[in-house]
Symmetry: C2
Amino acid sequence: MNNSLSTSPTPAGPAGPAGTAGPAGTASSRVFDHLRKDLVGGCFVAGEKLAINVLKDRYQVGLSPLREALNKLAAYGLLVQENQRGFRVPKLSRDELDDITQVRLEMEGMALERAIANGDSLWEADLLAAAHRLKRVDITLDKGEEWEYLHTQFHRTLVAPCGSVWLLRFIEQLHDQFDRYRRLGPKMPTIRQELDEQHHQLVELALQRDAKTARELMDDHIHKSYEVALKRYQEHV
Amino acid sequence: MNNSLSTSPTPAGPAGPAGTAGPAGTASSRVFDHLRKDLVGGCFVAGEKLAINVLKDRYQVGLSPLREALNKLAAYGLLVQENQRGFRVPKLSRDELDDITQVRLEMEGMALERAIANGDSLWEADLLAAAHRLKRVDITLDKGEEWEYLHTQFHRTLVAPCGSVWLLRFIEQLHDQFDRYRRLGPKMPTIRQELDEQHHQLVELALQRDAKTARELMDDHIHKSYEVALKRYQEHV
DNA sequence: ATAAGTTAAAAAATCGATTATCTTGTTTAA
DNA sequence: TTAAACAAGATAATCGATTTTTTAACTTAT
């Protein structure tokens, strides 16, 4: 996977399931990936203050690489840094969830249209593969990690050939933010069935190059996810 | 000003002209602001590798705060971090300039429409003030810094009440990226007259709540800036 | 000559300890 | 009784030194 924030030419590695960067390079980048995953996955309580010394033990690194990772995460928006009192997990709010969703609708819609215009046949193949892998995940066996990873991958693949590096970057960032809400509480989406059905239809429409309908469906898909996220958020207050 | 990346509750201070964070808190945040300004202002050559020890002297800080700032800037997109070989200034390319411009058109247009829908009368006052200050800058006296700062402020004010924190964040980031091109070479925009005229018209349209025309003008304004940036880029190769 | 191997110098990343700042509980003065 | 002042402990930020990795110059073998 190799997210664009990590230090660039990660040796790739076997690309383990959950977005981890293989054997990985620096200590700093390893903590970054790990912490990012945990923050998005809801391992921390929103608003919580992070005790650096605790993190140091938890992630088995020294202060310097840890602080470097925290600084990156703050610039990325997964942490808030306060003047002389360390880092904390950003609070959640209904308003922000709505905001994120709105912007996602605009940006992912745009990106999808462009991807459908530009994507080649290699893209079609990747898309089919990603959707297939996602569908194949055994809910009973999966601890949630596998589905989450493949879901992210699917959406990444879908918009990948949109032609705009910056659009992709922002979309990724918004996904992380959105998932802080969607992944509150229980592991598996209750309506996975429905969502997977939409994923399948999205592939169909992409292959048919029906940008307009695809975008409508994407809107719908985001709205569905929004409802899940909102419910989770409201139950979690 | 107090950019959203700096550590939050900066004591405000007298808010010096050029985006600096007043007396400022941590060494880390001071270097961050300073480096950000220099990177956007073109003090470094694109593609250049940053020698940490040189920066350490140049900005008068130790390794730790410096590295923390560099890490933040990398997450923000003003630096590229390579696996075990430090930081470098991102290369410039025609493709990227086009990309940035495209996304700016979409996002700032959207933000402007929303701002015009939401902005109250305090906003109208702020807008008039920002435009006025911008117009008043004496080109002969100004070393370029003042105009640049007020220009940024004007555009910030224009979209401020759009209602989306994330949109504002992305727009700010894109501005920084765009300015890496626009501010190549000579200090003052050759067509400042024209640009200031557009600024003035934008205020007019905003006050009249004419969202549609305002957006068209904004598109035009971005296109004009794009031409400046492109020319600068091509001359700078 | 070219390419693989070797090694010394340079640079990046990390560690351990120090310094500065905040927090909290307690005291003291109004 | 309340609020300002203080002091001790906890936490954040920074420094200086060490370790690791890369770079570049120089061999040596094919």
